[in-house]
Symmetry: C2
């Protein structure tokens, strides 16, 4: 199997963790990883859970050398809207120097780059120069419940004992500018349903006499931001630190992250940021309150003059260090209960939550990682705080008592979570080199 | 065929005018009416149009007697949500003294009551004592475009020349309290789409830097009402007359229309009305701005942390005499363009519109209609302004230069436009008596 064959085989498995009809595909994907890692001499196990399997693979023990735990997720996001994909999401297709598939940059391209980096190292040097544990789960896109549970089982923290945690599931500024992330945002997801009438009402017979659940939902949502785009939930910003000057200087120089470039990349007419902060500063270090979905009433062709029974909004907040996601959800709920008018009922449903995370980029192992990026890409990495969230990593770091480092390979146009997700093949190749170099450099650091 | 057989046959035809897959059913329904009316001695014609047929049926000419034009629509609303129907919407089912089917009270029960009233009159007296024209269209639920066009064709106004227009497609306060409506609300329907990003965005990678189309749509919608539930579109209330004292007195006494009764009927925790107006006053005589549907982003199970490309709201206004629906739509669009922020794009789509209508309930033919209701139900009718709209009737009245009278048979729990639409069988029977009595009484009024 060539390296590209390995990647294509991995990408072609529809391991969509959120969709029950793909449960067997997700398990098959775990089997694929166990087989691949076993072929490289790893002792690899598929741990079954109540939902999707966790794969743990250990390299043969090398005494006196550090242990690097590489975390990744082999599950992928759902594909909708399917009609916007140019090639089928699970038929890996190469176009213009990129490979297109769901999971190409989140997170399969990265996982396979790490595995093939280890493979090249083994081929070149005969063996790995340090201890490597791969921890690969199948539920990151749906809250990592099983891994959260797994970490509490007796013996597991010992099984996963390491000196550093490495993750490649974050962003990268530009193809020639590697990114080293020292922070992740936290996350909480929740839903607000507003209901009123017992059945759909004719808007002539009852209009004007009852609160319209859709209108009311909109009005409640409209109370969450002020005109300066500051979130007006009481206590929302408690504990949020201001951005350090060195961070502002550093982020001002990240390629592709200027306001003009972000506007062009996203296609919006112009950016809209919290007043006083650039687009990059908001993405990296300001908490957000987003609407992910809204529905209610008649959604088909033409018009239907009803006052519907209910309306639903799916929302999520990206949080920064200092904010507790459970506390935030409580504050959001309290806010909605305060502004909810008497003519409707509301139901607030908390979904998953994960802490924000921040680590020290300048530790010895951190510096080794930065050096590996510099050697691979020919440029020192930019140090950024990731706008995305990987809640399980914060948990992993806390339980194992070790820092996590994020070496991102998702370019801005990778379209993760969107149709036509892709990874550039040159970045995939560099990822392999980066992984190999990382392990070599880290093996020189005392455990 | 018994009277109930006739009604069941009529109700079982899925004449859903908004859905192309039912086009043949709609035409078959027109054929059914032509056949029924022909069997009663009417000269009945199915006029094909570009969309759905118009049925015109004329009784044999009686000189020196008035001509009553009875308007109705044989098309029905779509049935969704289908899973909330207890029996199939096109399998007329009798339960607890009611017949359940889509169209039972809007408008097929009423049309058949009028036709069977004429039939009974013919059976009892040998012939009709005046001139009757049935004008039955198949597009009322989708804007009556073909009938609007038909009225402009040469010779049609002569074909439809009459002394009065009678419509039974409006509300009825309570089973023993007939309603005589002397006004209809106008209507305009429109859509607002807000868009921003060129593709769905990962809410971590881009969140905080771009305007979220769903949030923005909600904020724009929230600018349409103030805390007193007054519509804050500039110029919206221009030309709107205040409610007369005699109307307030009259409406205070309409059974079932008190605030408490409306709340109980609709199932809302409490009413929400424009400040200073009761529920009944809002329904009958205040303009409204309603959200009929909203959609955007992820609407499936669980969560998906995207910033979507766009969000869409379907809206409509019920208008009162003095308001011009096209002018109102222009004002609404101007308002949204004013409040639309720079970080998104908006698209405003005007859909159908129809004028409000008011007539004189105390004309000789009007008084005959009121008397027919009193004789049939044993109580004088309440005089109300209908909250609903039948735009084609305003047009018909204007073009023919004759008043339209509305003798409603939709009870508040008829669930028109909703699942489990029904008509009480005793009301259906009374409707037949009302129709028969109406024709008899009107034949005594000089044309």
């Amino acid at each position: 199997m060539t390296k590209l064959d390995d990647l294509c085989a991995f990408l072609s498995i529809p391991s969509v963790s959120a969709e029950p009809q793909h449960a067997k595909d997700v398990e098959y994907c775990a089997d694929f990883l166990v087989e691949k890692l076993s072929s490289l001499g790893f002792s690899a196990t598929k741990h079954l859970t109540e939902i999707h399997p966790i794969v743990v693979a250990r390299s043969p023990r090398v005494e006196g050398k550090p242990t690097v735990l590489i975390y990744g997720h082999y599950d992928v996001m759902p594909v909708d809207p399917i009609d916007e994909w140019e090639s089928p999401p699970f038929t890996p297709t190469i176009r213009g120097g990129r490979i297109y598939a769901r999971g190409a940059s989140d997170d399969k391209g990265e996982i396979m780059a790490h595995i093939l980096g280890a493979q090249e190292l083994i081929e070149e040097d005969g063996a790995l120069p340090l201890n490597v544990i791969y921890l690969l789960e199948g539920e990151e896109e749906r809250g990592s419940y099983s891994l959260h549970d797994y970490l509490k089982k007796p013996g597991v923290l010992e099984e996963l004992a390491c000196d550093i945690i490495v993750v490649s599931d974050t962003g990268m500024a530009a193809p020639e500018v590697p990114s080293f992330s020292y922070g992740l945002k936290g996350l909480c997801c929740f839903e607000l349903e507003v209901s009123g009438p017992a059945m759909d009402l004719h808007s002539g017979i009852f209009g004007g006499a009852v609160a319209n659940p859709i209108t009311t939902l909109c009005e409640m949502i409209a109370t969450t931001h002020d005109a300066q785009r500051r979130i007006t939930i009481e206590g929302f910003y408690d504990g949020v630190c201001e951005i350090a000057d060195w961070e502002k200087d550093s982020w001002r120089r990240v390629p592709g992250m200027s306001n003009a470039e972000l506007a062009q990349l996203t296609g919006v007419p112009e950016l809209q940021t919290e007043q006083g902060y650039s687009g990059a500063e908001c993405v990296y270090a300001r908490p957000t309150f987003e609407l992910n979905g809204i529905s209610g009433g008649y959604e088909g062709e033409g018009s239907k003059t009803v006052i519907p029974t209910k309306a639903l909004a799916k929302m999520s907040c990206r949080l920064v260090p200092g904010q507790d996601p459970v506390d935030i959800m409580n504050k959001v709920e309290a806010h909605f209960r305060k502004v909810c008018p008497a003519g409707v009922r509301m139901k607030f449903t908390k979904q998953h939550a994960g802490d924000a995370y921040m680590s020290d980029p300048h530790s010895p192992l951190g510096k080794a990682a930065q050096r590996a990026l510099e050697l691979t890409f020919g440029n020192p990495p930019v140090l950024v705080r990731e706008g995305g969230s990987i809640p399980i990593v914060a948990e992993l770091s806390k339980r194992l008592g070790k820092d996590a480092l994020f070496l991102g390979l998702d370019l801005p146009d990778a379209r993760i979570h969107s149709p036509n997700e892709n990874m550039r093949l040159d970045i995939f190749e560099k990822g392999i080199t980066m992984a190999k170099t990382l392990l070599r450099l880290m093996s020189d650091v005392a455990p």
